[in-house]
Symmetry: C2
Subunit: 330 residues, 2 copies
C-alpha cells in the first residue's frame, strides 16, 4: 500500500496502520506466533518475567522535545530495564498505542522505527499490540523475558555486609531536563540522555549470574529507588559520596545553574541504571562500580544514607503528586 507520511491516522485507518507498523518486522526464532493474531505466542522455559510501563505525552515525553523515533527507543529501553532488574533477559514486547486521529502517520512510523532499532539492540521481538484513538498519545509497553534457569533477583534480598554496586549512568537524563527546561540544547550528550536512556543490555543477567542478592532499575532516582530496596530488605544502605564520578557535562550544568551536581546524581531519574547488592566485593562483575555497603537497620532506621548522613534534598518522585520538569502543566 502506498501511504503518504503526511496522512493522518484517521485517513490511514486502523488496519493499514497496523500493517504499516508491522511490515518488514523481523522475529526471533522463539516467536511462535507474531503480530496479526488474537494473541502472540512466545517460546519460554519454566517461567516468564513480565512488566508493563506507560508513557504518556505531556508527562513522560513532549513531542516538541523528543523525536518520535526517540520516544520509540525510550519506550523499549525503560521497559527492558525492568526485566533486566529482576535478572531476566528480555525477549518480547507488546505495544499499545493510543493517539489522536489527526496525528500524522509519519510520527507513528518513526516511533515504530525507534521501537525496532532499540528492540534489535536489546534483542527483543515485537510480538503484537493494540492501536486506538485518544486525546493524547499514550504508549503501553509490556516486556516479557526469560530467566534461563536463574532465580529472580528481588528488591528484598539485600543483607547486611553486602556491597552495593551500580551499572550505568546517573544524573544524565536529569541534567538533560535542566538544560531543556532552560531552553538550551547543550550539552548535547545530556539532552540525548534525556531523550533515550543509554542502557548496557545484559547487565542484569550478568549480575544475577554473579549472585546479586537484590537489584532495582533506577527510574525515579538512586536514593528513592535504593530506598525501595532498603525497605523491602529491612536494611540500611550507606553510600560513599566519593565513589561516584561526576561526569564533566554534569559539572558544567551544575556550575551554570549554581547547584550541587550530586543532587543530579543521587536524585535524578530516567537513566535506568541498575543498582544491585552482592554478597562480597569479589562477586561484583566487571562494569559494575561499587558505591556503598548494606548495614544492619539502625534503631529502626531503614533507608539510605550518604557517608552516614541523610541526604538533604527531595529524594523521591511521585507520579501523582510531584511535577516532573518535563511536564507541560495544563
Amino acid at each position: 500500500m502506498n501511504l503518504s507520511r503526511n496522512a493522518t491516522l484517521a485517513e490511514v485507518g486502523e488496519f493499514p496502520l497496523i500493517a504499516a507498523i508491522t511490515q518488514g518486522l523481523s522475529l526471533a526464532s522463539d516467536v511462535r506466533v507474531g503480530p496479526g493474531d488474537d494473541a502472540a505466542v512466545l517460546a519460554i522455559e519454566d517461567a516468564v518475567a513480565a512488566s508493563v510501563d506507560l508513557l504518556v505525552e505531556g508527562v513522560h515525553f513532549r513531542r516538541d522535545w523528543s523525536e518520535a523515533r526517540d520516544v520509540g527507543r525510550k519506550a523499549v529501553a525503560v521497559n527492558v530495564a525492568d526485566i533486566e532488574a529482576i535478572g531476566a533477559r528480555a525477549t518480547g514486547l507488546l505495544v499499545g498505542l493510543s493517539a489522536p486521529p489527526d496525528l500524522a502517520l509519519a510520527w507513528v512510523l518513526d516511533f515504530a522505527d525507534g521501537l525496532s532499532d532499540e528492540g534489535k539492540a536489546a534483542g527483543v521481538s515485537l510480538l503484537g499490540g493494540d492501536v486506538t484513538r485518544a486525546r493524547d498519545i499514550t504508549i503501553a509497553v509490556t516486556a516479557l523475558g526469560a530467566l534461563d534457569g536463574r532465580r529472580p533477583v528481588l528488591r528484598s534480598g539485600a543483607h547486611p555486609g553486602d556491597v552495593v554496586a551500580i551499572s550505568g549512568r546517573l544524573g544524565w537524563a536529569a541534567g538533560g531536563l535542566v538544560v531543556l527546561g532552560r531552553g538550551f540544547r547543550s550539552p548535547r550528550v545530556l539532552v540525548e540522555a534525556q531523550r533515550v536512556p543509554q542502557l548496557s543490555y545484559g547487565a542484569g543477567a550478568v549480575a544475577a549470574q554473579a549472585g546479586a542478592t537484590s537489584m532495582i532499575d533506577i527510574s525515579d532516582g538512586l536514593l528513592a529507588d535504593l530506598g525501595h530496596v532498603a525497605q523491602a530488605s529491612g536494611v540500611l544502605i550507606d553510600l560513599r559520596q566519593d565513589a561516584f564520578d561526576v561526569a564533566e557535562p554534569l559539572q558544567a550544568v551544575a556550575a551554570a545553574t549554581g547547584s550541587d551536581p550530586y543532587t543530579l546524581v543521587f536524585t535524578g531519574g530516567d537513566d535506568h541504571a541498575l543498582a544491585a547488592t552482592f554478597p562480597a566485593l569479589d562477586a561484583v562483575p566487571v562494569g559494575w562500580r561499587v558505591v556503598g555497603r548494606v548495614e544492619v537497620a539502625d534503631h529502626d532506621h531503614i533507608g539510605v544514607l550518604v557517608d552516614g548522613k541523610v541526604w538533604e534534598s527531595p529524594a523521591g518522585y511521585d507520579h501523582f503528586r510531584s511535577a516532573r520538569a518535563s511536564e507541560s502543566r495544563r
Copy 2:
C-alpha cells in the same frame, strides 16, 4: 493506612495508591513474583500466550454510563478473550492505569475490585502494573496465558469443508449501546452486556482441544472478525441466517428502533463471543452453535457471506475512522 475514598489520587500519592490496589490480592501458585518488584515472574511451560488491549475513557467506556467496577471487569474480560481465542488458558494480568490527579480514590478502588472479581472468574492473577498521571483514564491490560501443550489456534487455519461455530452472545452489547444512546436503561440485560461482556471462560481451550482449525474473538462484529479469518485463511465463509437465534431483548430493541435485529447480531461488537472452525460437525464441542460452512474462495472472492449473499450493512469497525456509539465527541 487509612485512606478516605473521597481523597483524590494527587492527595493519596502513587505508592499508597499501589498499596491500596494490591492489598489483599490473592495470587495463584504459578505466580513466583507478584506485584511490588520491577517485574513479575509467572511459571509457565514451553510457551506463553500474550495480548494487550487499551481501554480509553470516552472511546471504550464512559464514566457516566459504566461503574468503575464494571470497567475493571470489562478490562479483564476483553483481554482474556484474546488469550482464549488462540486456544490458551489465561493465567496472569498486568494492568497499566493512567488517570487524572483529581480522580477520586474510590473510582480506582472500585475498578480494582472489578479487576479482582473478573480475574477470579477467569482464573487469572494480577501480576503487576503501572500507574501514572494523564488527562483521561487509559487502561492497558496485558494478559498472559498457557497453552498446556496445545498448538495455538490461528486465524489462518480454516479449510474448505470446515464448519463454523460460535460460543457466546452476539449483538447484546451493541443492543445495549443503542439503548444507552437513546437515554434509556432497559432492557437491562442489554445495558449490562454493554458494560461487561459475559464470557464463558475456558471455551477457547475446549475448542482447541476439540481440534478447532481457526478461531477469533468477536470484538468488532461477527462479519468483520470472520472476515479476518477468511482473509488469513484464503477462504470464503458462508453463514446460515436461520442458524442464529435473535434473543427477545434484541427483537425488542430492533422493533423499538425500526431496525433489523440481524444487523445487531452480525455487525455488533464488544460481546467477545468466540468464532471457530472445526473439521467436522462431530468435532464441535458442547455449548458451541454451528452457524455456517467454510467454502473454497470463489473467483478470488475471499470473505463472508450470509446465505450465499453479501450482507448489506456497515460490517467493520475502525478505531481511527468510525465513531462508536459510546463515544463522547470532543
